[in-house]
Symmetry: C2
Subunit: 429 residues, 2 copies
């Protein structure tokens, strides 16, 4: 392996950086921030840019009904297996430039490098490649997150996904039409999926290592829960008669933090979004909608946390004199990525002198959604200080290049050896 | 008094209802709701409608630099004292149709009825009248509330007021220009101010009475306070490393409710508006801005509540691992309305068999802002179930008519007897 990986499909770091710089112009701010919300006009412009790159490099573009954008390079013939590579280019509001974007750009560069090598050698690869840019990975504008990959994997119904609304009541369906990405192409489940992503945590950074492999993914239980009170004047209305929805929310937010504390490092809880209605300084709020997340690597801890939360919701509502409604529940199971892909990533990283630390991914990744339908894995490069979802999110150019080179080497190995490179037992695909 | 009040300036209840119905079309919903935010296009249209009413009835319109809209009927000559009457037509989001609107419409009808009577009697009144529609009483779109009356009374600086921004960053200055109410007229402080308003509480309703007089006003201390954390991914970031601004907010909201409980019926506390940034389900919030109100009829209780709140802010910030900033503080002192106007209102109400219950106003009224510069009072008619700031807010047509008739009778008394009707000692004006 090592000779092949190191020498046969060298990527072009300058070309990679040029793409990263160009992509950053769509929604990027002077402070390093990135606001490229899913299906926004910035996202639309970035998708158009990616489409032009596909066209220039002879990748055939396809867009499916949930707006996932694919670019296929089919040198191996129509019946060869397909290896999918990519991530997402949507971002958080005021987020960073590397989360997702690096994975798509690295996929383009890696596939290009591998194809150039095969052309130079005048050989045909044993698989085709498909770069993917998934719709609404972040879940910032539309909930839930991983929307495009979940629909693609068949875990989420298309019609339901298209009906999701943003905070202004605009649906995914409308937004796709507005930016011209309401596609009609049918794209098949690939034989394997590889995603490169920034770590978004500090394990690699603190260890002084560059490259890691996400081997396990945490489960998540997400609630959209509304406390319902009654609008009244904050002046005249006696305290005892108020039904203050925000007060119910406050009790629960404090309780959720406490529940996390009861499970040490095994449980993460959060309320990242809170919608208050009518949200006027002089009016007792009639509605507070909490976007709650419970996350754990342990299914038992997750179930226990949900049980505790339900009791606290009841208690918070009673104490604040309000009622509540569960508006949506989204559950993702904890699990493990494909062993064959993990092993190939380890072997490939070793040729670059990288230890390939095994990591848990706690945040969702599209590869988590895809892991239910095909062998999948997420490769990681370090984030400075572990920062993610913030304008100071940063992965250096050499680190980006290393991750992209490992990805290219993995693709080259599969293209040269066939799927047995990642699944010696032949059970994949 | 009684014969004059009962018989000399009868209002026309049908005309009053027709005006209320017309005004309700600007921002009214089919469910009885009203959304006519200050200086919105609905507010602009309603102002234009009021201006047309002024023109039709020979009231001279004036608009000052903060957009307060005046309609003057000057039958008594240029040197006669001016009695101002009115309220506001801006509303809460999804509020009701009577809060403010009744006071403006009743002022129009009462002044019209008095003027018609004087014309019929072929006499000249001893004072002139000026109907007023104050800008941004509600404080829903722009903070603070009572903005127009506070600028008019000289308690708030004009430039500062014009620079206030709504939640979308649009200033009062821009909004006034957009709807054509960036006026240039100079309007003098009147000799007296009378405002009719719905009670917005249930004292009258529960007593089975129709009419009351606000004699005292509560003080209020309002803070705009921001907790400042740090954006981070809600998945990957360890709980111990989070700086969650919403968690700080939650602790304080719960504490503010507790502080209210420590002062029985003497203290009201609320957080009616909460702005969360970036407000994404997957991101630990970096900023939570609370719009806090402390209200009391007792200056001592108010000061004690503020002292306690400050300690709790410190504690909440420390417990959540965040910092905080006080962005704005607005203080209004508790006080008492003008005795002469209260006495005239009592005498006048008695001619209609009304007990004229004395009420505290806890919510602000423009007359509170004006009470610092001229004798002022607020008359009240009952609200069904004490509801205010809600689509079901309701004051019946007969109750509206009674309040308007008392108002007209008071104006008639002043117009007939001169200012000594409300200030026998001659200290007013």
């Amino acid at each position: 392996m090592s000779e092949i990986a190191c020498s046969r499909a060298p990527i072009d770091p300058s070309r990679l950086q040029a793409m990263m710089d160009e992509l950053s112009t769509f929604g990027g701010g002077p402070d390093g921030s990135m606001t490229r919300l899913a299906l926004s006009k910035e996202d639309g412009a970035a998708r158009d840019w990616l489409g032009r790159w596909f066209a220039r490099n002879s990748f055939a573009q396809a867009v499916d009904a949930i707006g996932n954008q694919f670019g296929s390079l089919s040198m191996a013939g129509a019946n060869a297996p397909v290896v999918m590579v990519g991530s997402h280019i949507d971002s958080q509001p005021n987020g960073g430039r590397f989360d997702g974007a690096l994975g798509v750009v690295a996929a383009c560069e890696a596939v290009l490098a591998v194809s150039e090598r095969f052309k130079a050698e005048n050989k045909l690869p044993l698989c085709n490649f498909q770069v993917v840019n998934w719709t609404n990975e972040e879940g910032a504008r539309f909930q839930p997150s991983l929307l495009g990959s979940s629909v693609f994997a068949g875990a989420t119904e298309l019609k339901w996904a298209l009906d999701r609304k943003d905070g202004d009541g605009v649906t995914v369906r409308q937004s796709l039409a507005e930016i011209g990405y309401a596609g009609k192409d049918k794209v098949a489940i690939p034989s394997a999926l590889i995603e490169l992503h920034i770590e978004g945590d500090k394990a690699l950074f603190e260890a002084g290592e560059t490259f890691g492999i996400f081997t396990r993914f945490w489960g998540a239980t997400k609630y959209r829960l509304a406390f319902l009170g009654r609008q009244a004047h904050t002046g005249a209305t006696p305290m005892a008669e108020r039904k203050d929805a925000v007060l119910g929310a406050a009790y629960l937010i404090a309780d959720l933090k406490q529940i996390a504390g009861e499970h040490g490092l095994d449980l993460h809880t959060s309320v990242g979004r809170l919608e208050v209605f009518p949200n006027s300084p002089n009016t007792v709020p009639s509605e507070a909608v909490l976007f709650i997340e419970l996350r754990s690597g342990s299914p038992d801890v997750l179930a226990e946390a949900e049980r505790k939360m339900k009791l606290r919701v009841e208690a918070a509502a009673e104490k604040a004199g309000v009622t509540y409604q569960v508006r949506a529940v989204d559950r993702r199971k904890a699990g493990r990525f494909a062993e064959g892909l993990i092993a190939l990533a380890e072997r490939t990283a070793a040729t670059h002198g990288e230890a390939a630390r095994h990591l848990d991914t706690i945040g969702g990744h599209d590869a988590v959604a895809m892991s239910g339908v095909c062998p999948s894995v997420v490769l990681a490069v370090r984030s400075r200080d572990g920062v993610i979802h913030h304008p100071t999110e940063f992965t250096s150019a050499p680190d980006q290049a290393l991750g992209t080179q490992v990805l290219a080497d993995m693709l080259y190995a599969i293209a040269s050896e066939g799927l047995q490179a990642v699944d010696p037992s032949g059970t994949a695909a």
